[in-house]
Amino acid sequence: MALKIPILGGAGLSEAKSDTAFVEFERVQKSYDGENLVVKDLNLSMPKGEFLTMLGPSGSGKTTCLMMLAGFETATHGAIRLDGVSINNIPPHKRGIGMVFQNYALFPHMTVAENLSFPLEVRKIGKSTREEKVMRALGMVQMQDFAGRRPAQLSGGQQQRIALARALVFEPELVLMDEPLGALDKQLRETLQFEITKLAHDLGITVVYVTHDQTEALTMSDRVAVFDDGRIQQLAPPDELYEAPQNSFVAQFIGENNTLEGVVQEMRGDSCIVKLDSGDVIDAMPVNVSKVGERTKVSIRPERVEFDKSRLSPDAHTLKAEVLEFIYMGDIFRTRLRVAGTDDFVIKSRNAPDQVRLTPGSQIEIGWLAQDCRALDA
């Protein structure tokens, strides 16, 4: 990835200096072998009570960041602060951070209650208080009836709830979750997503959540940090991330996206004209292009493509398209088009009573509002 990409996570830098920051990464770097940086110059700041998701493909450095925060990896460079205190040299067990692991890591030789009681025991909390807290934590995840079971006697979803309860039972202010729902089936995942967010908000805890599932990231988080190549590519609330991706990686990684490549032909303030490689000309909104002649990838969401000419402004540019495939998906229709030399241009339309169903083979014209089409880095 080219170096000219602006470090958008840098937005946190200014926040880092504020007193409200609860978790802070400042210029953090991590290398395992002394040759390659797994995490390159990470800056991040979180206020108390935030649910932040680190999202990214595998190898993007998100889990390493989490492990550094938990204390299982040491930062090669930079400072990690918790509530204003640098924790670089504090061993994991003194950080007081709750953690939910990918495979739950419930201790197989202990019962559910013993698992939950463990963090309280090592904190030398009295027996009666312990029992009370364990039952309260089990109550939070509706698992009171399972206190005497062993982890192996529980289903995946139940184990996940217990892992969650165990991470919460000693009332940490910060909880880390490393792909906690990865091993569960879709339906259970959705239920638990909802429960985890609700619990986090009810308890007012700060959560750093790692996942590679973008739906999970979008539905659960207050803010999402998109990781790639050891950097935060964009740190933003889910809606902003989806609707206003700051670069082509984020645009492609979050949600479905149509990409067309071309050269900036004309700049018009908050919009621009892009000449595609096929020769067609389209309207776009410049995001990180600044001058005429620059190569760009324009990105447009499938649901923002319009094929009803009456809804477009009269001077809008349109593209000729051939319908290749029409897929009925229930709530929406998904239509694949051949546009400007690509065969995988997709549009989505709502299944409304008056919605047109395009037939394969027909020739149509498509267009969009300039602000829906973002001209990003090439």
Partner: protein, 537 residues
């Protein structure tokens, strides 16, 4: 009761399923059959045989059957010599046994119980064929026909056998001698011993009773028969010969068999000898087992062996204690290594694994001998310690030919058997457990002790069982480096198998060892649970 489920063709589903599975089972059986047969033939059966020897004691009643019967009437509590009939019986038994060269074997067997019996039997064996000569001489003096083998055959043999023997063409074996019913009826003792004589002559010497003069002991038996029934009336041509002898018998000069035995060796006057024979006359005995735990059988019941002969309980105890020491040493040394193996990156772990397995590439004997070089008084380790100055030159450590040597060498040799099961169990414990524990606030030690260690216990169990069972039966290493203070019970078993040839005692010791191992296994199952033993994934 639920209704029986039927298959599509109306047969009960269970039967149908069984039929379907039978083929599979048969195939599985065929696959293991060669190994099963091999093990049965070369392992299970011989071991069963061997263990059977620990109670089997047929040799006494087979070799001296008459004596065993005669001793039945002997009152052991009197602390007297047995009656003359017993001596007579023994003389007859020995006459047969000497011819078959079995008396020395019996002597060796009884020598395990009372030393000296072996030579007593050998000495007596050399003289036993003279017993009864005095009667032969007097019979022959009475009538030279007594010197003729044919006379004896006519007197003793079944008419059918005589006919068959006459018809025999000399090819192949002579028909097996059959004693006549008349002889058994009228001259029972003579018939009894003559039958043995004929059998020995035929089978042992490949000769014929028709050509061999009977042993003198037969004359003794005849004399006893004639004294017992003076009016004996043998039918047939020899009636006169026998009745003449019967008439003369009371005036025969007699031989005192007891005196003859005593003349051979005074030990025959020792009631202990007779008590030993009496005690070990049954076909099965618990004597070997009693000996194996330092007890002995006497006519007064079961008693401790004399203090200076008690070795086996000490040896068993030492074997157990040293095996435990070795097992614990293996755990202490092997656990960290297994941990390293399980947690290092694959490439380094493989190298380390090769180092762990390296000892398997050299012979056990070589490794043990190497320890001999290292540990001896002038050996490498002592030299090093002296050079460093830890010990004085005249105060070198005794590291070999004692228990220390055995523990050191065997810990080294058995270490891989501890590391491998530990490693394979530790490999299945994800690092995330430790991380989880630490994130929950546990220190490194608490995380290890409360979370990691309990999960590695099955590996410790498996390794300990392996190491303990292997060491409890170890032989070569204690033999080479153990001296006298560091040998195991197995060395004693080997000694009885190959040197003293007291296989019965060896078998009893082996059976006890086996029982101990099984008992420990059972105890382990009860305490830890055998399901908790894991040799891998």
């Amino acid at each position: 009761m639920a209704e029986q489920v039927l298959a599509a063709d109306g047969t009960p589903l269970k039967a149908s399923l069984n039929r379907a599975l039978r083929r599979q089972k048969m195939r599985a059986l065929v696959l293991i059959l060669p190994l099963l047969l091999f093990i049965l033939a070369t392992f299970i059966y011989p071991i069963g045989q061997m263990l059977f020897r620990s109670v089997e004691n047929g040799i006494v009643s087979e070799t001296i059957p008459r004596t065993v019967v005669a001793l039945d009437d002997w009152d052991t509590q009197e602390n007297d010599l047995p009656p003359a009939t017993v001596f007579d019986a023994l003389a007859k038994d020995l006459a047969v046994a000497v011819e078959l060269k079995e008396h020395t074997r019996l002597g060796s067997r009884l020598n395990y119980e009372l030393s000296g019996i072996s030579s007593l039997f050998r000495k007596t064996g050399r003289r036993v064929d003279d017993i009864g000569e005095i009667y032969t001489d007097q019979l022959v003096a009475l009538d030279p026909a007594w010197e003729d083998p044919a006379t004896w055959v006519t007197l003793m043999a079944d008419p059918d056998w005589i006919a068959a023997q006459a018809a025999w063409d000399g090819e192949g074996d002579e028909p097996a001698f059959v004693v006549s019913a008349t002889a058994i009826d009228m001259l029972p003792q003579t018939a009894d011993i003559y039958a043995d004589f004929a059998r020995v002559i035929q089978s042992g010497d490949n000769d014929s009773p028709t050509e061999e003069e009977p042993w003198h002991i037969v004359s003794l038996a005849l004399y006893q028969d004639l004294i017992a029934s003076p009016s004996v009336d043998i039918p047939g041509p020899l009636a006169g010969l026998v009745s003449t002898a019967a008439a003369a018998a009371p005036s025969f000069e007699t031989e005192d068999v007891i005196a003859t035995f005593t003349d051979v060796d005074d030990d025959w006057q020792n009631p202990e000898v007779w008590e030993t024979i009496y005690t070990y006359s049954p076909a099965y005995t618990n004597g070997y087992f009693l000996n194996a735990i330092d007890l002995q059988k006497t006519t007064d019941g079961i008693e401790w062996q004399p203090e200076n002969e008690q070795v086996y309980l000490t040896l068993f105890l030492r074997t157990m204690i040293m095996s435990m020491t070795i097992t614990i040493s293996c755990i202490l040394l092997g656990y960290p290594v297994a941990w390293m193996l399980a947690n290092l990156p694959a490439r380094k772990a493989n190298l380390l694994m090769i180092l762990v397995l390296l000892p398997f590439w050299t012979s056990l004997l070589v490794r043990t001998s190497a320890w001999k070089v290292l540990l001896q008084n002038q050996g490498v380790i002592n030299d090093l310690l002296v050079w460093v100055g830890f010990i004085a030159d005249d105060n070198r450590l005794a590291l070999i030919n004692n228990a220390t040597g055995t523990v050191i060498a065997m810990t080294h040799i058995l270490l891989p058997f501890m590391i491998l099961p530990l490693y394979s169990v530790m490999q299945t414990i994800p690092i995330s457990y430790l991380r989880a524990a630490k994130s929950l606030g546990a220190t490194n030690w608490t995380a290890f002790w409360r979370v990691y260690f309990p999960q590695s216990v099955p590996g410790i169990g498996a390794g300990s069982i392996l190491v303990f069972i292997l060491s409890i039966g170890y032989y070569i290493t204690p033999e080479i480096v153990g001296g006298t203070k560091g040998v195991f019970i197995s060395n004693r078993i080997a000694y009885h198998i190959s040197s003293s040839l007291n296989w019965g005692l060896a078998a009893a010791l082996g059976a006890i060892l086996l029982a101990i191992v099984l008992a420990l296994y059972w105890a382990y199952d009860r305490i830890v649970g055998i399901d908790n033993v894991k040799l891998g994934g």
